[in-house]
C-alpha cells in the first residue's frame, strides 16, 4: 500500500511541477500568439478586400457557420460588399474560410485560414490562386460545389483533395446565399 501511495504521489508531483511551468510560459507567450493570429486575420482581410475599405465588424450568432461579418465600403462610404469568416469542415476537421462578396453575393476573393488539412494535398488550398475558380461566381453563375462544375484544369488541380474542395466550396456557397438574404442592407 505504501508503495502505491509513494508511486502515485511522485507521479502527481512531477505532473504538478510540469503544469505549473507550462502555465507560467503560457502567460508569456499567449498574448504574442493572439497578436500574431490577429495579424494573420488583418492581412487576409486586406488581401480579400478587392480594393475596398474594410469597415466595421460584427460577430454573428444567427448562423452557426458564419462567425464574423465585416462591411466593405467604397470611396463614397457606401456598402459595396461584405467579408465573412465562415467555419467549414474539411478532411482534417474544422477550417476557417474568409471570403468577400459584393452585395449581390458574387465572390470577390477568398482565403483558407486555420485548417488541419493534409500537407501536400488539402493544404494547397491555402495558396491564393486556389480560390480563383470561385471568383465571380455566386450571383449570375452558381458557386461550383462539385467537381463536374469546374473546367478540366481546375478539376485536375483538386484531385486528391476533393473533401477539402467541397468543404471550401460549400462554405463559400453558404456565404453567398447568406449575403443574398441580407439583401444589400
Amino acid at each position: 500500500m505504501r508503495q502505491f501511495t509513494r508511486t502515485g504521489i511522485t507521479l502527481a508531483l512531477i505532473a504538478a511541477v510540469a503544469a505549473t511551468a507550462l502555465a507560467m510560459i503560457n502567460a508569456v507567450t499567449a498574448p504574442k500568439i493572439a497578436a500574431y493570429e490577429l495579424q494573420v486575420i488583418q492581412q487576409a482581410l486586406t488581401e480579400v478586400s478587392g480594393g475596398y475599405t474594410v469597415g466595421s465588424s460584427t460577430t454573428q450568432t444567427q448562423d452557426d457557420a458564419v462567425i464574423e461579418q465585416y462591411t466593405l465600403l467604397d470611396e463614397t462610404e457606401n456598402v459595396a460588399g461584405y467579408i465573412l469568416q465562415i467555419i467549414g469542415s474539411g478532411y482534417g476537421g474544422e477550417m476557417t474560410i474568409m471570403a468577400s462578396f459584393t452585395v449581390d453575393g458574387e465572390v470577390i476573393d477568398a482565403r483558407l485560414l486555420a485548417n488541419a488539412e493534409t500537407p501536400g494535398l488539402g493544404k494547397k488550398a491555402e495558396v491564393p490562386s486556389y480560390m480563383e475558380k470561385f471568383i465571380g461566381t455566386g450571383a449570375s453563375t452558381p458557386v461550383p460545389v462539385k467537381k463536374d462544375m469546374l473546367d478540366k484544369s481546375d478539376a485536375d488541380s483538386i484531385s486528391g483533395s476533393t473533401i477539402t474542395f467541397s468543404g471550401v466550396a460549400k462554405s463559400i456557397a453558404l456565404g453567398s446565399s447568406y449575403i443574398k438574404l441580407l439583401g444589400g442592407e
Binding site: L11, A18, K32
Partner: protein, 212 residues
C-alpha cells in the same frame, strides 16, 4: 575531457547517428525534410527537448519509482515539447506552421524516449547532457542533410532564415528551372533515405567499424 566522455559526446554524430545508424525518429525526419530551414528548426526543437528531458530524467532517476518511469518520462518530455511549441508559435510562427503536426509529435519521438530509457536513467547528469547534445546534433545534421539534398534537387532552392535584405531563399540556376520533383515528394524521401542508409552502412563497414 577523458576519452570516454568524448566518446559519449561524439558517437551521436556519426558512429551511432540516431537517424542513419540507430534508425530512430524516421517519421519526423522524412516528414519535415522538405526545406532546409524546417530541418534546422526541427533539429533545434529536438536538441532542446532532448537536453532538458535527459537532464531531468537523470536528476530524478533515483526518485521516480521503477513501475511508473515511462509515464514520468512522457510527462517530462511532453512538458518540454509544449514549451517549445508555445515559444515557437509566439516567436517563429513561420517555422511553427511548417513543422505542423511533427512538433507536438516530438513527444513520442523514439530518439528522446529512447535516450531517456537507454541512457539518462542509468548515467550521471554530466554524461546525460553530453549524450543529449551528441544525439541532438546528430539528428539535426541528419535531417538537415536530407532536407538539403531534397530541396536542392526537388525544388532547386535552399531556404534559410530571411535576414535583412536577404530573402532567405537561394536559387540554384539549372535545378530551379528543371527540378527533380520526386525528391520533394514522399517517395523521394524514402528513396533518398535508402541511399543514405546504404552509404552509411558501406562507410562504416569499410572502416572496419567495431559495431554494425
Amino acid at each position: 575531457m577523458t576519452g570516454e566522455k568524448k566518446m559519449v559526446l561524439t558517437r551521436g554524430l556519426f558512429k551511432e547517428n540516431p537517424v542513419f545508424i540507430l534508425m530512430l525518429g524516421l517519421c519526423p525526419t522524412l516528414g519535415v525534410s522538405t526545406q532546409v530551414i524546417n530541418g534546422l528548426g526541427m533539429g533545434a526543437a529536438v536538441i532542446f527537448v532532448l537536453l532538458f528531458s535527459n537532464i531531468f530524467v537523470s536528476l530524478l532517476k533515483n526518485i521516480i519509482p521503477n513501475s511508473v518511469r515511462i509515464p514520468s518520462y512522457i510527462v517530462i518530455i511532453a512538458a518540454f515539447v509544449t514549451i517549445v511549441e508555445m515559444v515557437m508559435h509566439a516567436f517563429l510562427p513561420s517555422i511553427y506552421k511548417a513543422l505542423g503536426i511533427f512538433l507536438p509529435l516530438i513527444v513520442v519521438n523514439c530518439i528522446i524516449l529512447g535516450r531517456a530509457e537507454a541512457f539518462a536513467n542509468k548515467n550521471t547528469i554530466g554524461d546525460s547532457i553530453l549524450d543529449a547534445l551528441g544525439m541532438g546534433v546528430g539528428f539535426t545534421l541528419a535531417v538537415t542533410l536530407i532536407a538539403l539534398i531534397r530541396e536542392v534537387f526537388g525544388s532547386g532552392t535552399i531556404t534559410l532564415m530571411p535576414i535583412g535584405s536577404f530573402s532567405g531563399v537561394i536559387h540554384i540556376p539549372l535545378l530551379y528551372t528543371y527540378p527533380v520533383r520526386i525528391f520533394s515528394l514522399a517517395a523521394g524521401a524514402l528513396l533518398l533515405m535508402g541511399y543514405l542508409k546504404a552509404f552509411f552502412s558501406w562507410y562504416s563497414s569499410r572502416k572496419g567499424g567495431t559495431q554494425s
